[in-house]
Symmetry: C2
Subunit: 522 residues, 2 copies
Amino acid sequence: MTDTPNGAQALIRTLVDSGVDVCFTNPGTSEMHFVAALDTVPEMRGILGLFEGVVTGAADGYARMAGKPAATLLHLGPGLGNGLANLHNARRGRTPIVNIVGDHATYHKQYDAPLESDIDSIAAGAPGWFRRSKSADEVAGDAADAVAAALSSPGGIATLVLPADTCWLPAPDGAAPPVAPTAPAPVATEAIERVAALLRSDARCGLFVGGRALTAEGTRAAARVAAASGATLVSETFPARQRRGAGIPGVDRLIYLAEFAQMQLAGIEHLILVDAVEPVSFFAYPDKPSTIAPDGCEIITLVDGRHDAQAALDALVDALGAADVAGLEPGRPARPSGPLDVGSFADAIAATLPDDAVVVDESNTSGLGLQAATAGCPPHDWLCLTGGSIGIGLPLATGAAVGAPGRKVLAVESDGSGMYTFQALWTMAHEALDVAVVIANNGRYSVLDMELDRVGAEAGGPKARAMFDLTGPDIDFVSLAQGLGVPGERVETADALADALDRAYATEGPYLIDAVLPPMAF
Amino acid sequence: MTDTPNGAQALIRTLVDSGVDVCFTNPGTSEMHFVAALDTVPEMRGILGLFEGVVTGAADGYARMAGKPAATLLHLGPGLGNGLANLHNARRGRTPIVNIVGDHATYHKQYDAPLESDIDSIAAGAPGWFRRSKSADEVAGDAADAVAAALSSPGGIATLVLPADTCWLPAPDGAAPPVAPTAPAPVATEAIERVAALLRSDARCGLFVGGRALTAEGTRAAARVAAASGATLVSETFPARQRRGAGIPGVDRLIYLAEFAQMQLAGIEHLILVDAVEPVSFFAYPDKPSTIAPDGCEIITLVDGRHDAQAALDALVDALGAADVAGLEPGRPARPSGPLDVGSFADAIAATLPDDAVVVDESNTSGLGLQAATAGCPPHDWLCLTGGSIGIGLPLATGAAVGAPGRKVLAVESDGSGMYTFQALWTMAHEALDVAVVIANNGRYSVLDMELDRVGAEAGGPKARAMFDLTGPDIDFVSLAQGLGVPGERVETADALADALDRAYATEGPYLIDAVLPPMAF
């Protein structure tokens, strides 16, 4: 950039200088100057997704593994809208993402051209830091502020809207100075002491851990605190990233169904939140409560997203003089054989899981056996659907593979959720990402069979159940994968699944396994 | 419904009584009572889409053909977000749609459960009538108001948010009285006379027609006015629904590229808008103007969405004493042979188009020859991408086939756009819809090659062009279709395309043709 850079060039240089050097994108005309500027900043890697839900989900997966944000580049309001569901999930997981949303040139907006829409309102669907650049001069500074916001504690979604002329006009000052992450704040000593006193008392305490506390070290510290105090240790239902496996203490997850979750927390008088929010029922149901903790239970936020979770847990360990605890023994199920069901499905996955794998889990009802089966597997990272909006798994696995090069990624995906953003497979193939995709293909939105019963819906009959039916035609995921350049195979037994998984892990690049399962019976 | 209905039952009964008897849906837990209520109202047809962009695009296509709105049923903010891009397109086409968006129960919202989001803001991305039901008692009345809003002149998007408890609690009053469409208002006589006087004068006038004026009758009346007065007759670039073909006068469309569109309108002193808005450039470009009409040209809105376009055009015919005009002669290209290019692609489609077909056109650059080639085909309806947000074609064709039973639907789809919402093929197969899908597969976002040049983007090199590249792997649309239960074939010559189209039209249910084209050279 010996010549005066334009706004787009200054923007990308600023991002790269601050460590944001991957951009997942599906651009359009209003983003052409950004795209052109990719050639002037060699350090920025552009990765194309064939739908914006892939783009935003991949940015989430990347950041969860790389520990720093990616950028997205989205085309006006509709592009942001298409990416919104996975931004919602990222926000719930507190993943840092820097969204760049192109817009019409400042002077063109008044004409209400066909693609004009209310970008600012759409962005409120996944709220966080938000700004609209006013001029090319300000773009680099705006980008630095966006990165700083994404990297703050708690970080999250930062969305910068760039009218096209702010990208194409000159930005003589060039890039903004690099920004660094904000360090999380320590938890106040008084708060630690108060919680330590409760843990030492006879009161029944619960530790509810999530977020950044679910590293190996965080989990060990939490387990030590629980063992020393007798507190009940439970993790979030759907952690953004959890380190688990042999050698790491086990942590029960809070069960999705509120009535069972209530049993897990029964009798607890003080629930201590460690980088997690108060547990509530995912949905409301007639005659079922919205909250999970017992009536009268005190909710204590010890650590929230602004705080250093590890330091707080270490301080509790010290305060309690908590002895070390054993991690889980290594061990996994034998390779299963016979029919595929929820149990043998989990066993096949656990029996074959590679060392240091990254597991992306959007398996929904079909994955109910996975947690138990994989508990003693070699240590691995487990990434969940954090915000309840289906369609995250395949994009998340795509981004995780970019963010964790050299590691094997396993995406355990349900059929209905997988259909939402199946386009991700093309990016996996295009970027030669080592992702083994297992589709739990039971031909239904099986969770809705359960939910229809649970909401007590009157008169749900064949027309209602037909809305959950993914058969007629059956979906052939091997053909779908082949259409996007991904090899694969269909399996109908547990031994075939285990064998196919071995092949998938031995394959360079993505590989898909269409595992035919019976629908869950509720 | 002898028992007291619940809110959901009263809602669906109200919709059906007002003629809204098709609901495209992808529901979730918060919509289970609506789904259950489908079994209590037999007249309501539920049609499942495997992604919300399919649901909203299908509702658009349905209404364009059926002439009345469908309902959609969407799952909270993320479901609405997933459907937003095609709602944006529907809004730009002024299609009536009644969106039902489920939400958490009123008392549950305070807990910020994982799927909680700002639905109201997201809905502002495709603005129109909006309401949030407050209680089960009010749901039926709210639904009636939503239908009335969608059916008013101009109609459009009506979005009703239903907290789950407003669906499951009793609604003792049951359904609301049926609502009927609002008749469009007549254009004031003075406005007709003023425009007639201009048309009779020596001033150079242009008639810019769109919306509901593009029926066979409206087109004929507009052509008579133009012929009698010497006015230039041009239609919208991307009509929502245009009747065209042999026997109907031809109308040039305003060209997408602003510099060519300006040539079409050069010298015009008074541009008369007939159910169309003032033409503007789709995007801004450095050193190119935003508006299309010549400087100083008077823009006269004779007919907007509230008005009866046909009556206004008939009044102009009478005022001018305009003689009848000939329609286009029947005629179509010979069946082509040899390599596939933009010309032979169009010829193959024109040579085989069935009588009274419905053509859904999201062919982008590959379809540049279609308008000319099909001008003398048997009369047919042509449906365009109205709002510029790609991913409408396959959903639109799905809904059009539901809304126009017995007619053959042809979807001409580009590869990049088709990948956005390819899930629609499953619904085509599931509902046995007679849709011939032709994918113009040139392996690129070819329009962006052109736009990168047009924006004058500096230094766009290989990294930029790689963002438009849909190869490595090549997308195999036949495999994709097969994965969703749709038969098909790949063609690489013009004669093979024509033969394949014959097979597609002879096939009951959907059929896909993957037509391999060279990228456009710009």
